[in-house]
Amino acid sequence: MTAAETSLARTGFEALWAAKHERVRGREPSWLLQARENAWALFAERGFPTRADEDWRSTNVAAIANTAYATPSRSLDAKAVQAACASVAVPGSVRVVLVNGRFEPSASDLGAPQHGLTIESLSAVLASGPETLRGHLASQRSTVNAFSALNAALFEDGLRLRVSGRVAIERPIHVIHVTTGPGAFALHPRLVVEVGNGCELELIESFVGAAGVGTAFTNVVQDVRIDDAATLRHVRIVEDAVTAQHVGMTRAAVAKDGRYASVAITRGGALVRNDLYVTLDAPGASCALDGLYALDGSQHADQHTTIEHAAPHCSSTELYRGIVDGKSRGVFYGRIIVRHGALKTSAEQENNNLVLSNEALVDSTPQLEIFADDVQCRHGSTIGQIDEAQTYYLRSRGIGADEARRS
């Protein structure tokens, strides 16, 4: 793609940026404006990635680059949103609903306040005490590619979840991201999650489209900080509408003896790309990344994970499984970096794929980059299909072909 074409592809967002810039200038603190300007400059310089970029060799984002997106509609079809939320409801959880990237109190059910837990919309924090967000937003730690830069420049709202005071939050927090409205629109929600020393939290996120939603492009960024001996269980389920485009960047930093356990499930969306970057910053930190992608039709889902072992005595495990059918394409890219001096590291990674049709496609790229010697690292990757002997075994016992395939 030539420079001219790239800049052409950006024009839709240029108008959005100009409007955004106008709106926030003078209203947001200068450091935040500066951060937005820097992020925009980065995006303007790089443009959308092409398949010539190593990180994007399996995923073509031309569909996003060539669409003129509007800002999402503010009018709320309460019934449709209700129905969408009900379809993914998790019993016993605290329900926080974001509609088109904005916190929607009327659809949420925060229940009784829980000791040590604060749930706030990002716009509320920005209005009342933006300084507390400075560490996350000014550092640009999560701005690592064109999409996260776009989010850093354009984000409107989102959530901040904080746990402090050495408590374990009993009820899981269920954040439901609902997209609704006609036409093509883009939203850039942002989540900030801070789990303080010795605390525990379970966070479940669902991404769903309300009935009749147009082409929603969700470009979400999540900053996660896990302090000493804290634990975060993070479940992320992409069940967007079949027309949806979804790009996500989760950046997690884990401190001493902290643990990050992630489960990423992708079922919906036409084009999905999830980046998960975990840094194990201090001894004893660990993470477990699990994932499942089940694709059909012409879906394309790209799972990119990076685990950086930056300190000694850290461990990580990773297991991603994929099932692809129809003409879908599943991509797994898993990178493990062991930094110089990160001795006694243990890292295990596995990716298994099941291909169910002749036209489905799987790319698997597990990578190890190791700069220390006293380590145990291993990765494995398989691509295969349902074993005929197994289906034969089941069918010979009276289980139908379809059912045998499913079981």
Binding site: G341, N353, N358, L361, E369, I370, F371, D373, Q385
Partner: protein
Amino acid sequence: MSEATKSIEALANREYKHGWSVDFEAESLPPGLNEDTVRFISRKKNEPEWMLEWRLKAFRHWLTMTEPKWQNVAFPPIDYQASSYYSAPKSAADRPKSLDEIDPALLEVYEKLGIPLKEQEALAGIAVDAVMDSVSVATTFRGKLAELGIVFCSISEAMREHGELVRKYLGTVVPYTDNYYAALNSAVFSDGSFVYIPKGVRCPMELSTYFRINASKTGQFERTLIIADDDSYVSYLEGCTAPMRDENQLHAAVVELVAHDRAKIKYSTVQNWYPGDENGKGGIYNFVTKRGKCAGKASHISWTQVETGSSITWKYPSCVLLGDDSVGEFYSVALTAHRMQADTGTKMIHIGKNTKSTIVSKGISAGHGQNTYRGLVKFAKSAENARNYSQCDSLLIGSDCGAHTFPYIENQTSTGRIEHEASTSKIGEDQIFYCQQRGISAEDAVSMIVNGFCKEVFKELPMEFAVEAQKLLGLKLEGAVG
């Protein structure tokens, strides 16, 4: 651009157009690379017209290309205009006269490897009249091969005597457009080997460049072409375990293999070029394009490599599995010590039905060495029931080295099966302790463990090579464990 620079440039261009010409009688070329260099080389080698045309096309294409940057190795930029692209083999007068003139460090290595004295002299490039009768040995072998219809000669000779064969196959596996170094090689390659095994012939001996008379001076741009016709078999050995004296820093060779129906080619390499000193100064850049085409049904290509030298090794011996039921194999041991860097692996491109491939890669990093396995396994849509198994293990010795694994796996079939495994670890202290307890020194223990680690690959090597390769590894790791 200022007016001054513009006019200087114009002048420079004009001078180039009319002024400079090549003296075709000269024995070597001044540094520099342009179309005249290519013409000079082609003329010097009495090549047919089509060959010159091909070289020129390659050169023109090379000019449009840029150096690749994606590799996981670092080196200062290469000035392609600064080296000379042709020099006739050194006359006896220029060579060292006896072993006394050779670097004692080199001699010590020869000694440790147990290389006979006469062979040492040959390797060090000493002008000896009767180098252990290699000429006569080679001649005897060639006579025997010729009886079977096997062609084994230098590629220049092949171009003159088997022009049609060379023309039919040259560049069909690695086209000159393939990559930067392959294009450069196609334009200026000096010499190399040509092997043709006729239908149904099993080559009775292992072919080795070692037995080819002019093999020691094939130069930095070597080109090898091996064709195995239907139902034939050949095992080819490249290189030598002993360190070679060489003045060229950049080695950009191209190796092409073609296997027809049911033919098998086994290609083994032991590479031990000068790796530079302990601080990484000097040393050879080994940037090689090697690829085999399993063109026929049930054809079989097997690569085995033991890479222990060169300051940078950057190569991916690959197999294109075109014919149904064809098989590709890759066995590799790559060792990086001191400041050596290696980015090596393979590509297995499955196109035919029921094609199979196996990859076994063992990387050993010591000192400040950086070792990268990079590979691609691709099943095209047509590759029904294709099967791949890959295993990449890394062994780390010392806390400053690095081991990296970048496998790419792409599957477009619903019937293919791919398995990939990789592991990275250091030599267990308990293992060394166990050996030491039984009176084995730490160094010997490391050597034993490393050889055990590499066993799967060594067993693919021809017998003599395997023995030498084991000794070589032990030698290279000397001092790696305190």
